[in-house]
């Protein structure tokens, strides 16, 4: 068994209104100096040893992320 982390983020050129809303709220809460926030998704998968890197890449690109609007990274933690 291994733990695999897939992080999915909106591409830089894609408007991220959720991140902007968070960034906009920070000064109102008294936190200054944060100039930008991007909001994405973090997936944790428990996979058995039969799942190879190629399959994980397919899962990330074909399902967890939409390559039109998002970028992704796949990491094996153990």
């Amino acid at each position: 068994m291994a733990r695999v982390v897939v992080d999915v983020m909106p591409k830089p050129e894609i408007l991220d209104p959720q991140g902007q809303a968070v960034a906009g709220a920070l000064p109102r809460l008294g936190f200054t100096g944060v100039t930008s926030v991007r909001q994405g998704k973090h997936f944790e998968l428990e996979v058995d040893d039969s799942v190879d890197d190629e399959t994980l890449a397919k899962i990330a690109e074909g399902f967890l992320a939409n390559p039109v609007i998002e970028e992704w990274t796949v990491r094996r933690l153990s």
Binding site: L15, F63, V68
Partner: protein, 223 residues
């Protein structure tokens, strides 16, 4: 003439889509998400709602439903397919239409009657409209911002594949005010606003949406 209407768990607008099909004297055939059989339909409507709760991304899970593999094959063979709202998102996720739909620019769910301009009246779903006609139909969506990379947008514009455009204030931040697009052959159309909610002035803001459904009957008869 049989028009199939897909129901996924979480679909909301299948009843109105089926009603629109019956309204123009077509037979509405209910298609279940888990069934690969299209039951001999001549066209398919992928209606609005929140398929599978829209978890992950809008339309991302529905795109892998058994019925969708049959719809994708049929669409590639030339069957007219219409995706409305969540259906548009599903068709983009499925790769039948380019681009993606993202969260509305102002983050608010938008629910209002919306004027649209018919930019292309040669698709399977728009022949009953005059080019440049302005129609009033409901819009109700939280993730209706159409995005695609610049080369895709240039291609859509260059080939006349922007089918509907928002008139007046852009409700969701869609690139180039795009409300609906079509496939290269004009048989697959996706749009965010809801023509199926505007088929009778008794229950909608107009009957302007009826042209979408009458058009597909025409294109099936002439095919």
């Amino acid at each position: 003439m049989k028009i199939g209407v897909i129901t996924f768990p979480g679909t909301l607008d299948d009843v109105d889509a089926a009603r629109a099909a019956r309204y123009i004297d077509a037979e509405a055939v209910n298609l279940w998400h888990a069934d690969e059989d299209l039951h001999g339909v001549d066209a398919v409507i992928v209606p609005g709602g929140f398929s599978y709760g829209d978890y992950l991304r809008c339309g991302a899970i529905a795109r892998f439903a058994p019925v969708m593999s049959s719809v994708i094959d049929a669409a590639k063979g030339g069957m007219p397919v219409l995706g409305i709202c969540n259906g548009f998102q599903i068709l983009c996720e499925a790769g039948l239409l380019p681009g993606a739909l993202v969260r509305n620019k102002k983050l608010h769910f938008v629910c209002r009657d919306q004027w649209l301009r018919v930019e292309n009246n040669t698709t399977a779903w728009t022949t009953r409209y005059e080019a440049g006609a302005e129609v009033l139909v409901p819009l109700k969506s939280g993730e209706g911002g159409y995005v695609a990379d610049q080369s895709t947008l240039d291609e859509l514009e260059g080939e006349g594949r922007v089918v509907f455009r928002y008139v007046g204030e852009n409700p969701n931040g869609s690139r180039d005010d795009i409300a609906g697009i079509c496939s290269a052959n004009g048989r697959v159309v996706g749009l965010m606003p809801h023509p199926e909610h505007a088929i009778d002035a008794l229950t909608g803001p107009s009957d302007d949406g009826l042209g979408v459904f009458l058009s597909v009957v025409d294109s099936l008869v002439s095919a």
